[in-house]
Structure formats: C-alpha cells, structure tokens
Symmetry: C2
Subunit: 281 residues, 2 copies
C-alpha cells in the first residue's frame, strides 16, 4: 500500500485519478492470494497504475538520480575494496550494502547519507560463507547474475569485476516496475560494455520464472550458479532447486523469520546448502 501510494504520487498529481487508482488497489488487495509472493502483487498493482495513469516509468528520475549518486561514489569504494585484506569479500559486502538504495521513499537520500550508511554496513558482519561463494564462482562455466535496483546496479559492478566476464550474463527486468534496474540502468552503470546483459522479459519486481522470456528461462536453467540480488528475487526464487546464491539485506520480519537472521542483516545465502541444512535439521 505504501509503495502503491508512492508510485501513484510519482505518476500523477490528478487527485481524481489518484482516488480511482487507490480504490482499485484496495479492491485488488481484498482479492489477494496470500500464498503468492509479494512481488506478484506488486507486479499487478504497478501494471494497473501504468494503465490508469499512462505513465510508463514513474521512477525514471529516481533511478537516474540513484545511478548518478552511486557512480559518483564508485572511485572511493573501489579504493576501499583494493585496500581490503580480502577484496572479493569486500566487493560482496558492497554489493549487498548497495541494496539500501531500494525505494523512491528514499529518493531524498543525500550522497553523505548513502556514504555513511555504506560505511556502517561495510563495518557490519556479512552473514554467509564468501569462500564457498568464491569457489563456486571460480568453478562455474555459466553464471547468471540477477540484478535488483537502479543505483544498486552500480555497486553490483564491483562484484562483477571479480566474475569471469565471458561466462557471466547479467539480467535486468523487461519492463519498468518500481525502481528495478532496466537495460538503461545497466548502460548507465557501465555494465553493458563489460558483460552480456539481457532482459528477463517480465515486469515483476522479483523473478517469477513462468512470467519470464524463453531466452531468460533457458539461461536460468543452464546456469551453474545464479547470483540473486535483493529480497524480491529471494521471495520469488527461494523455493527453487537451482544453485542460487542470494545476496540481500533482510528488510522485513517475515523474511527474517524465514532466513533466521534479524531484519537489517546482510546475508549471503546458498540455496542448496540451506536445503541440505534444513533436511539435516
């Protein structure tokens, strides 16, 4: 609801349109199947908003501003990674920390605020096994990297620097939804020059596989490892049997309960290992 309201305000100042949209959203919400993951509701809601307002990408300016902000900070962060004892682990930390750039509600974030938060989060422990992740990356023939948000995608570049370029494919969303990264954001982040970037064909703020393009599904199923950024991707993919490494900031109590780490935690979670752990428990 908060997100719908926010997107609506980015889309139109027309109060009668706003009221019409909110009524539709309430009706849609009353009909929700609570068994579906949240990105599936968000997809429906933001799709309807685009239809009603005819604004194709309400978060365009927010996304551009986050990309610019992140790019401005990049040299300093690259320096920090270069100086680190374990540069790979530090790049993983920053890729997850970039997940703080996640919502238009924070569109007013200043550079110093982001920098302060990044420094704080980098000082936080990373919950997960970066060595196991590094080994999996080095042994993989085909890596699929699922991005989350604009702005954040710039920080993904820091981790992508450590991945085998010719064997990594980066996926962005196929259509605007909230501030999720699109091809334009991958370009702004300098990623299209670096590796192969594809659209997933979907407008869900997560990865609902049956909603994605045939090309994406094939790459997804053939990948040795999948690197999945953010909560939306976790919510839609955590039940799968592929070899997925989830890199995310825990942002709500239900996910915290599911993962077993408190909200605010920065987590690197291995899908298959999680399963075997659950079985062995």
């Amino acid at each position: 609801m908060r997100q719908a309201l926010e997107a609506m305000r980015f889309s139109t100042d027309d109060v009668s349109l706003q009221q019409r949209f909110m009524r539709e959203i309430f009706l849609c919400a009353a009909d929700l199947d609570f068994a579906q993951p949240p990105p599936s509701f968000a997809q429906k809601i933001h799709r309807r908003l685009r239809e009603i307002t005819d604004v194709k990408d309400p978060y365009l300016k927010v996304k551009q501003s986050f990309n610019r902000l992140a790019l401005k900070m990049l040299p300093q962060i690259e320096h920090t990674i270069g100086e680190a004892d374990d540069p790979f682990a530090m790049a993983v930390k920053f890729a997850i920390a970039g997940n703080i750039i996640d919502s238009g509600a924070k569109a007013a974030l200043s550079e110093s605020e982001v920098l302060e938060t990044l420094n704080k989060t980098v000082a936080m422990p990373l919950l997960g096994d970066t060595d196991s992740f590094k080994k999996a990356v080095n042994n993989a023939t085909d890596i699929l990297y699922l991005t989350d948000n604009a702005g954040e995608i710039v920080f993904d570049r820091l981790l992508i620097n450590f991945l085998p370029k010719g064997r990594t494919v980066l996926a962005v969303k196929g259509c605007p939804v909230i501030n999720d990264a699109l091809i334009a954001d991958a370009e702004a982040a300098g990623l299209t020059k670096l590796i192969k970037v594809i659209e997933n064909g979907s407008d869900a703020p997560g990865t609902i596989l049956e909603d994605c393009s045939a090309e994406f599904i094939e790459i997804f199923k053939n990948a040795d490892i999948i690197i999945s950024k953010g909560q939306g991707n976790y919510e839609t993919l955590s039940g799968r049997t592929e070899n997925i490494f989830f890199l995310l900031k825990v942002k709500c109590p239900p996910i915290a309960a599911d993962i077993g780490f408190p909200p605010g935690s920065h987590v690197l979670l291995e899908n298959l290992r999680k399963k075997s752990q659950k079985i062995s428990n």
Copy 2:
C-alpha cells in the same frame, strides 16, 4: 492501513482471522468517501475489528503502560513548569508535547526516549498566542477540554491545573478506539478527583459531534471555550464555528498544508481567529 494492521496484531495472532479482517478492511477502504475526515474511517475500521476479533480494547495494555510512564515523569515536569518564567505557557507546551504519545507503533518507547523527546519539544517554539489563550481561559464560564490519548492525558493534567476547576469539564471517548483516553485513563491520571469528567458517547478517534451523546453535545454547545487536543479532534472540528483552541502536534502533510505549519510543529490554534484571518486574507 498501517494502523489497522497494528490494531489487528494487538487483537489476534490467528492468521486466518487476520487475513479475513484485512480483506474486509481493503473492501471498506475501496468504498471510502474521501471527503470524510480520517477519524470517521478509523472509527468504522476499529469497530469492525472489535466485532471480528471480539477483543474490546486491543490497546488496553499499551494505554496502561503509557499512563504509568507519564505518571512516573510527572514530578520532574511539574518542577520544570514551576521554575519556568511563564508557567502557564510551559504547561501548554508540555500538554502539546504529550501528544507524541500517540500510537501503539511507539509502544516500545522507553522512559528516557520520551523524556528526551519531551525536553526537545519543550525547547521548540510554540506556534500560537498563549497570552490570548490564557485570557480566554480566565474569562470563560464554561470550559470543555477534549482529550486525545492515554498517557498524553497525564500531561493534560499539568495544563488543567491552571484552569478553573469548577468551570471545566473534561471529555474522554465513550468506547475504546486505538489508544484514545477513556474514563479509566482519566482515573489513572488522577483527573476524576480533580474535575468533572464525562464520556462523549462516541467511538471515533476524534469528535464527530452527530455521533456523540446528547449530554456531550449540550456541554459542547454551551461552552465558552473548547480546548481540543490532537489531530483527530482538529480533523473533525476545524470547520466548526465554536470558540475552539486546538492544541496539537502536526503529524501529516495534509494537516500541515491546512494549518500552514510544517509537520512536527507544535501549534496552539484559535479557531475563530483562524477564520477571521482567512476572511481578511
């Protein structure tokens, strides 16, 4: 929605009841008359919640805990008021500052946090004319004081100390709604021993006059001045022609726009003067 969710969580852990309630709330919201003041929606929503869950007062513990917390702080605040250059103006400040205790979302507020916030807010300027208010109070034959929340009602006592006891009536809500003060809270705050306390006969978190008891309406209409605490009372009474002094903390952008002071402001607003100002502009 946030408030409905919160009240629901205070009322029941039964997930199927929670889902049923939220669906009903969404349907109810889709049908809203946006011209009605927010307390009117809140009234409908919290009434429905009480019916579905059969929990008559979900905020009972929260209210009791806020009363205890405020009572514990009272001696120190009374001392501050006694030492002030203008004790009446200082009491007005604390009565408005007490409006920070307004929601179960802040049920986890510690004493030191409340004290810190109170000290900050007392250092803030009070936007309004306390001299004109004091004069009106001294000249009045019948004063009606409309309370807002539990906990806050303890701070109201500080201002009530300056009012003519025999000529002042204090009104609380007639039925539990959110954390609004009831007779039990007036008792806990020591107010029933001090002045006449009445129920307004309504379960709206504001004052919807046509929903109140005949006794309350008569007192309301006969009062020389009405002292109205909080945003809920402002939202439901700001259009009236009675001589109302609104004491409130501005808590949302629409009220800020209406009053002309930014969110967070502490305001003493004279209803009749506001009207004459609007006419003269």
